[in-house]
């Protein structure tokens, strides 16, 4: 009887620890996608670039934590940043990924207002490099394909991440707004519905929605705020993509509008997001 309880208890504790922080799911989801890239379907990520992005993210986090005198070094967020950069950024030299990772993590420590960093670190680094080193970096929005199966896989992984982070709403708001704009455009042009459907199935769009715009640390605290933010990004990205023919439209729109979260949080204040969820932990370990 006692034995059974002991055996029963450790997986429960482990599960509790894993579930307590949404980043664990995010790391799992992104690592799965990266593995998928290397083993099955090439999205364009390269092992050396990925290794450099991840290693530099972790090292920069450790260095900045020390410089800023933080009590502990938490490597989960920089791991997510390194994985995101591996998946999304393309460069003509592997070292660029190291530079991107350093910029991403440093931005998180330096560019803070009201005790909150303004830009998603990976998103910031991608746009910063597109501006600073346009001859060396690019993003490949088409490489994720538009297969339903892939969309389903990403959605499934992402759902796990977001439902545990409590921020699934912003991804859905964004996808709904983005999809609605595409459908309206197709209606105006008289295009068949298969065209907006093809555009909505883009793997690149889903990855942006579930892993970038939905970053709980850089999205508005209130639900209404997140709705406004998501719709604003969808509108700007639509304009950039179709009127300006900009390929990284989603990332540029997020970069440009991220400071809006500060204003939105002042107008619609709500509790600030915190990764660890002691309540869940307590519930599961009880």
């Amino acid at each position: 009887m006692t034995m059974a309880l002991t055996v029963d208890a450790w997986p429960r504790r482990l599960a509790a620890q894993l579930c307590a922080d949404a980043r664990h799911f995010q790391i799992f989801a992104l690592a799965t996608l990266l593995t998928f890239n290397f083993v099955f379907l090439d999205f364009g990520a390269r092992p050396l670039n990925s290794a450099l992005a991840i290693a530099t993210s972790l090292a920069t986090q450790a260095l900045c934590s020390r410089l800023w005198g933080l009590p502990a070094i938490d490597l989960r967020s920089p791991l997510i940043t390194g994985l995101s950069l591996s998946l999304l950024l393309r460069a003509d030299a592997a070292l660029i990924h190291a530079a991107a990772a350093a910029i991403a993590i440093a931005s998180k420590f330096i560019l803070r207002i009201d005790g909150k960093h303004v830009w998603n670190p990976a998103g910031f680094a991608i746009v910063a490099l597109l501006v600073l080193a346009p001859e060396h970096v690019w993003i490949s929005p088409g490489q994720w394909g538009a297969g339903i199966w892939f969309a389903t896989l990403v959605s499934f992984l992402a759902f796990m991440v977001l439902s545990s982070a409590g921020r699934a709403d912003i991804a859905l708001f964004f996808l709904a707004a983005h999809g609605a704009l595409l459908i309206v455009r197709a209606g105006w042009l008289g295009d068949p519905s298969v065209i907006p459907l093809h555009q909505i199935q883009s793997g690149s769009l889903l990855i942006f929605a579930f892993f970038m715009i939905s970053d709980p640390k850089t999205s508005p605290d209130s639900r209404l705020g997140r709705f406004i933010f998501a719709v604003a990004i969808a509108l700007l990205a639509h304009r950039l993509a179709f009127a300006w023919q900009m390929r990284p439209a989603l990332y540029v729109a997020l970069f440009v509008l991220s400071p809006l979260t500060l204003l939105i949080d002042r107008i619609f204040p709500a509790a600030r997001f915190c990764w660890a969820r002691p309540a869940v932990l307590k519930e599961l370990t009880r």
Partner: protein, 451 residues
Amino acid sequence: MTCLRKTSARLKSTVAILAIAAQLAAAIGPAAAFCGFYVAKADAKLFNKSSKVVLSRDGTKTAITMASDYEGEPKEFAVVIPVPTFIQRKQIGVVEPATVEHLDAYTAPRLVEYHDEDPCMLQMMERREASDKLLAAPNSALKARESVAYKGVTIEATYDVGEYDVSILSAKESDGLVHWLTDNDYKIPRGAEAVLASYIKQNMRFFVAKVNLERMELGGNKFLRPLQVRYETAKFMLPLRLGTVNARGPQDLIIYALSRKGRVETANYRTVKLPTGMDVPLYVKDEFGSFYKAMFDKAVEREDMSAVFTEYAWDMAWCDPCASKPLSNKELVELGARWIGSDDDTAFGGAQGVNAYVTRLHVRYDAAHFPEDLTLMETHDRENFQGRYVLRHPWQGSTACAGGAEYRASLPARFEREARSLSNLTGWKIAEIAAHMAMTGQSIWRRGDRP
């Protein structure tokens, strides 16, 4: 692009609207001639219903050169191409077919041969070079006429360009455009109207060209030369949709993208590199055409016909092995790469700050799998890639030296790997491959092993 072809005397003309070239015309009329096998390269002529487009892009400066496999009567040919801006006469030209064919040969997937060394010397590699005639650039007369309004359609300009009569049309409604085309003896396929309407709303104009037989005779041209249009636009795309309206089955399009920075890929479809570098049985040398077609079919099937394939991506300044002799500065400029600075007859060799990079993309498309036009983007990826398949000739001389027996014993396993590789690439049955190999002295069975 619209391609028109009269099919009978009773029906004045049948119009097939095509996005990129005369594919539909080929489908309606006699099938495009299958142009035989190419021992060392698999050029665009292997694929029936295929079109070739050279797309040069420098910032927003774009030149699009369209060559089709149209082999019908010249008087029956016409094209309609959506273009993003008004086009002046100086922005239109014709290009010698040989120049496009040269770029096709230069970038074609290739078969290379190695000869095993005496198991105790260096192998040889055979390179095949195809010589292409380099012909002078065409010259055509300018004759812009007054713009006239026609049922909501404005003929913004008409030009004489080589053997073509070109009109630039703009329209407010697709009805007007369809009426104009119908009234001008064009029969519009059902479904084309909606696509035209979409382009009209996107502020696109229509570049319409027909063949002028008199000037064709005067110019002494036996074949229709590729048309080139140059314009500045942020829209880096290729219109496919018109070509899929009423098309019978999938079509092949080969895009040769000339760019300054690096590889070109599609932003709204996956761009996938074709399998490359495999050792294949020696008999493939005589069947390279069917090998390449089968391999391409298989690759298309594997990607559920939803991807664009990269066949070649390389700096234009060099090649290894070269499938044909390098293009000259003149040819590159003729194809729209005007940024290279020089237009002399010497081979393009690149220079400080002057780059030209070529990407050869091959797409098999239909309306179901490619509902949207191709959106393109230039990357900074300058990694070289070529579709390259390898023949390894075993050593034929004496193997009396120490390693000889071991070398001979290793051959069946090697041949088997080649057979499996060929089977994986093409879907051909391994038993058939083995039988074919046995006839060319490449038995995959050791003595006594044969079933």
